[in-house]
């Protein structure tokens, strides 16, 4: 794909700031021209300026990626493009839409009626929450029909178009249109929503975090589909996300948002390779990715500014290593930093020295697995032939012999040693959380045993074991995904943290406990500890809450902590910091982690840094497990390869390569868990599947010289698999069954 032409540049202008005048010249390449856009909310404590004088052009037929942390104003920018800022927000400035038929119009000064036809016919929008973007009491087709009707378009023609769109998005039009929203999975709903936004053939599609709630694999598949759609329907796509690697490989241009304005923009590859703004560089460094060197990942110091009280001058100066008096005094204009690029920084030429980052460092796979090769460490938890079933069938189902049992965990063996980190990765619904809960004794297994240091946990719970159940309960702790709901809102941080001490350390008196709590708070960077100790959960940020939850679990001196998506709710730039903290506390408290994540990059960071293992789960089975380096850099199981493909690399070359390769998967959606496929559970989606995979289920097996195990016949060179016929593609559409 070719980068659209941008402003003509004079050589003399290279280092000068781009004048406002130049922006004002209508650019024939631009479809949306944003000028001095402000969005203001009046709040009790002052005026909250969530977009601050933004001027920006969106080019025709491009895919523009807008990247920023939560609260940077990127969603406001999206809403303002449609003049759809929610009350009581007010948008000021200009958003000029260059209508191909009628000429330029200012979207912000359109009347209500004009807006009604402008939206969806010219510019359409897809929101983050596909789950809640459909009326739960209306079928999907009614949503399409009412939209077409409201805009007075020919029904049959548009509905035929809708069917084409759905088919393009790998959905079965008949089934999807006849369903209620709750009958579709999250990924299907999101794709149906994309089809709904394109039904009137808009010129521009604005997408606000459209994939944030989805699994990586689904995100990646949708991104690939978007690429196809864009070419097929001549779309301009504005894609807003917090996830830089996701959009980096696909977008033509990137714009980075910080503190309610764009700090840098330019062709995506140029921005990724050599970002000019110190913030972009720091952001690139802080994002967990699968291909960057671990030593290179660092969190950004400090916090994002408050919209009521944005720092004077350059809004990034309090966190910037290059900041000087000029940055404090003046707000920098865009400096031309290359072909079609701009960065709002006075010192952009020196940014590469100040903040150094590297992309796609070739991994050095250590010859000997580091700490993973334990053996001398005692096993804390061992799971033997574990199965957990959830029966969903009713009385009549049983009468008619209809099996509606979900095998959430279907025969898993796993051992976790002292001080080990095991990361479980898989799509939602693969049973990883159930497995985790079973491992710490919260869920009773249907078949198999859970042993804590050799003692059966459930026997102990029934009082039949030799070991006191309280000891086991104390040794196995959990940290949930949502820190907000796991802290009692009416208790201060100190009360929450002192509770486990009171229970398990009766030798400490209340002032001792306070000292312990304060020391710990300081240790996790919550300073001043005296102040933080007296706060209530609502006075803490998400990252701080998660730290308190982690500390609370650690104060029980557990042997194993189940961290269920413990960093997923945090902002991207905070994740590395949180995982770093988890690792340093692991050494302090001498504990093991069972880390559950749907994000390969997070799992890789935690497991690889601690020399731990990564386990890949699919439909209740552990399909591959082994040292993190091996799983990441040399995946064996085809499903691991799929997940690896779905985790986009940051390096533009690798990203382009990944983008050009076909997804190594035959179907996008997971099979129905109540009716799992026979034989190898993955054979319905596996590109390598052969007839034998339909009939027989592979066991975990290793190959020579490798520490990892994979449940795939391809690992065995003499297996009947190699003589078997490949499974012939039955149809190109999934969901048809």
């Amino acid at each position: 794909m070719q980068y659209p032409n941008t402003h003509p540049n004079d050589a003399t202008q290279m280092t000068q700031s781009l004048s406002n005048q130049e922006f004002q010249d209508g650019d024939p390449e631009s479809i949306l021209e944003v000028r001095d856009l402000d969005v203001i909310f009046d709040m009790d404590r002052g005026e909250s300026r969530v977009l601050d004088g933004v001027s920006f052009d969106v080019h025709r037929d491009e895919m523009l990626g807008i990247v920023g942390e939560s609260g940077s104003g990127k969603s406001m920018f999206a809403s303002a493009l449609l003049n759809a800022v929610v009350d009581p927000g007010r948008a000021g400035g200009e958003v000029i839409y260059d209508d191909p038929d009628a000429g330029p119009v200012d979207v912000l000064s359109l009347s209500e009626d004009q807006l009604e036809s402008f939206r969806w016919e010219e510019v359409a929008m897809v929101f983050q929450g596909a789950m809640s973007s459909f009326n739960p009491t209306m079928k999907i087709d009614e949503h399409f029909e009412e939209t077409i009707q409201a805009h007075g378009k020919p029904m049959d023609e548009r509905m035929a178009h809708a069917r084409d769109l759905l088919a393009d998005l790998y959905l079965d039009p008949d089934r999807v249109l006849g369903s209620y929203p709750h009958e579709l999975s999250g990924g299907m709903k999101q794709r149906a929503l994309i089809a709904l936004s394109l039904v009137l053939d808009p010129e521009v599609l604005v997408m606000d975090e459209p994939t944030a709630a989805l699994d990586l694999l689904m995100q990646r598949s949708i991104m690939n589909l978007l690429d196809t759609l864009q070419a097929e329907y001549d779309l301009t796509i504005v894609f807003i996300t917090h996830d830089l690697p996701l959009v980096a490989g696909l977008a033509d241009r990137l714009a980075v948002m910080y503190a309610f304005e764009f700090v840098e923009y330019g062709p995506s590859e140029a921005v990724i390779r050599d970002a000019a703004h110190p913030y972009t560089r720091a952001l690139l460094k802080s994002v967990p990715s699968v291909d960057a060197a671990l030593e290179d990942m660092n969190p950004i110091e400090g916090e994002s500014p408050d919209p009521v009280d944005t720092p004077a001058g350059c809004s990034y100066h309090p966190r910037c290593p290059l900041a000087d008096e000029q940055c404090v005094a003046e707000d920098p204009d865009y400096h031309d930093v290359g072909e079609g690029r701009g960065a709002a920084c006075f010192h952009w030429e020196r940014s590469s020295e100040a903040v150094d980052y590297e992309l796609g460092v070739d991994p050095v796979v250590p010859d000997e697995p580091s700490r993973a090769a334990h053996g001398d460490e005692e096993t804390v938890i061992s799971l033997e032939d574990l199965e957990v079933h959830f029966d969903q069938s009713g009385f009549i189902d049983r009468l008619f012999d209809q099996d509606a049992t979900v095998r959430a965990v279907d025969g898993v063996d796993l051992e976790i040693a002292e001080n080990e980190v095991v990361a479980l990765v898989g799509e939602s619904g693969c049973g990883k959380t159930t497995l985790g809960k079973t491992a710490i004794g919260l869920q009773e297994p249907t078949v198999g045993t859970v042993r804590y240091r050799g003692h059966d946990v459930w026997e102990a719970k029934r009082g039949e074991g030799e070991i006191d159940h309280d000891r086991i309960r104390r040794a196995l702790q959990i940290v949930h995904q949502d820190p907000g709901s796991s802290l009692n809102p009416t208790r201060t941080v100190r009360t929450s943290l002192a509770a486990p001490l009171k229970r398990w350390r009766p030798d400490l008196n209340s002032s001792d406990r306070e000292t312990v709590v304060h020391n710990l708070l300081e240790r996790v960077g919550m300073k001043p500890a005296e102040d933080y100790a007296l706060r209530f959960p609502h006075q803490l940020s998400g990252g701080e809450k998660q730290r308190v939850v982690l500390l609370r679990a650690l104060l029980m001196s557990p042997d194993l902590i189940l961290a269920d998506e413990a960093v997923s709710a945090l902002d991207v730039s905070l994740r590395v910091e949180m995982m770093e903290l988890m690792l340093s506390l692991q050494e302090l408290f001498d504990t093991s982690y069972l880390f559950i994540s749907h994000d390969f990059a997070n799992a890789r960071y935690l497991a690889e840094k601690s020399g731990g293992r990564i386990g890949i789960m699919y439909l209740g089975n552990l399909v591959e497990i082994g040292p993190a380096e091996e799983i990441i850099h040399d995946p064996k199981h085809p499903y691991t390869k799929v997940l690896r493909w779905a985790t986009p690399p940051l390096d533009p070359d690798a990203a382009r390569e990944a983008r050009e390769t076909e997804p190594p998967i035959r179907e996008i959606d997971i099979p129905d868990p109540t009716d799992p496929p026979s034989g190898c559970p993955f054979h319905t989606r596996c590109p390598e599947a052969r007839e034998v995979c339909r009939e027989r289920e592979p066991e975990l097996m290793g190959s020579e010289g490798e520490a990892s195990l994979a449940a795939c016949f391809r690992e065995d060179d003499d297996h009947a698999y190699w003589e078997s016929d490949p499974i012939v593609e039955e149809s190109t559409l999934e969901n048809t069954s």
């Binding site: 009326n135 009491t137 939209t147 959830f390 009385f395």
Partner: protein, 361 residues
């Protein structure tokens, strides 16, 4: 022949499959049936075990009568007389009495005979039932439509003076017991102003039939009871509807619908009202029971001879067979209301499905 058999077999299989598809409904009907049996049994046993139970009371009454007329009280004759009037034989063990009572109901729709009126209980209740249904259903329908409209309007004008005032009014009305309202209505509209009659179901001077004057008199007589049972269903519902609507107005799908250019009428009806009514729906169906039970007192206040009036009368007159019959009537009405709510909820809210289907794991 074999072809015929095959087709029959297929038909039976299809019928089974069809019925099995309604598993949820069968289960609910089963629950209702169990409840009905338990209620019947418990009321029957309670009446029988009460000190001075109906059979004994009646027996004593007949004994006194016979002695009064100078006859010797033959226990067998007394038993027979009691059996004729109540439908059961007091000399039999209680489980046999119960069995015969239920058998008579199921096979002959025989609920026994009213002591006071001498008519079969079934006939009395069957005649009174339409009148009770008339005032209850209208009161309920009126109450809930007002609730929904008022609640929606309050949500739409959230925070306005209208909203504030109506919240106070709804809370106030909600806290007035319906019988107090009924007495005030009676005193004010019937006695002071004389706009409405103070009792009766229709004007007896008009010829009964499908003529406008008779219809008008029914409405005229029913107005005050309906207004009073309206109060029963009013108030709390409006506040609940307001809360639901406010929540729906903030939903993402509403914002998306507005952006898609969907008309405001469609948004108000298909999006806001439809979704806000859902939680009210079950409450409304169960409310039917409250309205019917309130009719016991209401109909008595307005001297409106419906099922409620006969019930109250039966309590006063110790007319146990009639009382037992009307208890059964109330139980059945409540159960049918709940069943209706359960069965139709799947239509109103497609997510409800057949219960527990969307459980996450």
């Amino acid at each position: 022949m074999s072809e015929y058999l095959g087709r029959a077999r297929k038909g039976v299989a299809a019928a089974f499959g069809f019925l099995a598809g309604f598993d949820y409904y069968w289960r609910k009907i089963g629950h209702a049936f169990v409840t009905l049996i338990s209620v019947t049994t418990i009321t029957f046993v309670l009446f029988r075990l009460m000190p001075g139970n109906p059979a004994q009371a009646m027996r004593a009454q007949f004994e006194a009568q016979l002695e009064g007329s100078g006859q010797a009280a033959d226990p067998e004759i007394l038993d027979q007389m009691v059996q004729v009037h109540t439908g059961f034989d007091p000399s039999q063990p209680i489980y046999m009495q119960y069995f015969e009572y239920v058998r008579d109901i199921v096979l002959y729709q025989d609920f026994g005979q009213s002591i006071q009126y001498g008519d079969p209980v079934f006939d009395i209740l069957f005649r009174a039932m339409p009148w009770s249904v008339f005032i209850s259903v209208y009161g309920l329908a009126l109450g809930y439509s007002t609730n929904i409209l008022l609640g929606a309007a309050m949500a739409y004008k959230e925070g306005s003076r209208f909203d504030g005032t109506m919240t106070v009014v709804a809370t106030f009305l909600n806290s007035i017991p319906y019988y107090v309202g009924a007495l005030l209505f009676l005193a004010f509209f019937a006695h002071d102003l004389g706009w409405f009659p103070s009792g009766g179901r229709y004007d007896t001077s008009i010829e009964a039939g499908l003529n406008p004057a008779f219809m008008a008199s029914i409405v005229h007589h029913g107005a005050l009871p309906i207004m009073s049972s309206f109060i029963v269903g009013f108030g709390g519902g409006a506040l609940a509807m307001r809360g639901n609507s406010v929540r729906i107005l903030g939903a993402d799908y509403l914002r998306v619908a507005r952006l898609r250019g969907i008309g405001s009428v469609r948004i108000a009806t298909r999006y806001v009202a439809r979704n806000a009514i859902l939680p009210l729906y079950t409450q409304m169906m169960i409310g039917i029971a409250a309205v019917f039970s309130s009719s016991v007192v209401l109909e008595y206040i307005f001297t409106y001879p419906g099922v409620g009036w006969y019930t109250f009368d039966a309590i006063n007159m110790r007319d146990y067979p009639l009382l037992m019959g009307s208890f059964l009537f109330f139980t059945i009405v409540t159960l049918v209301g709940i069943l209706l709510a359960e069965f139709t909820y799947g239509i109103v809210d497609p997510r409800a499905g057949s219960g527990g289907e969307n459980e996450s794991y």
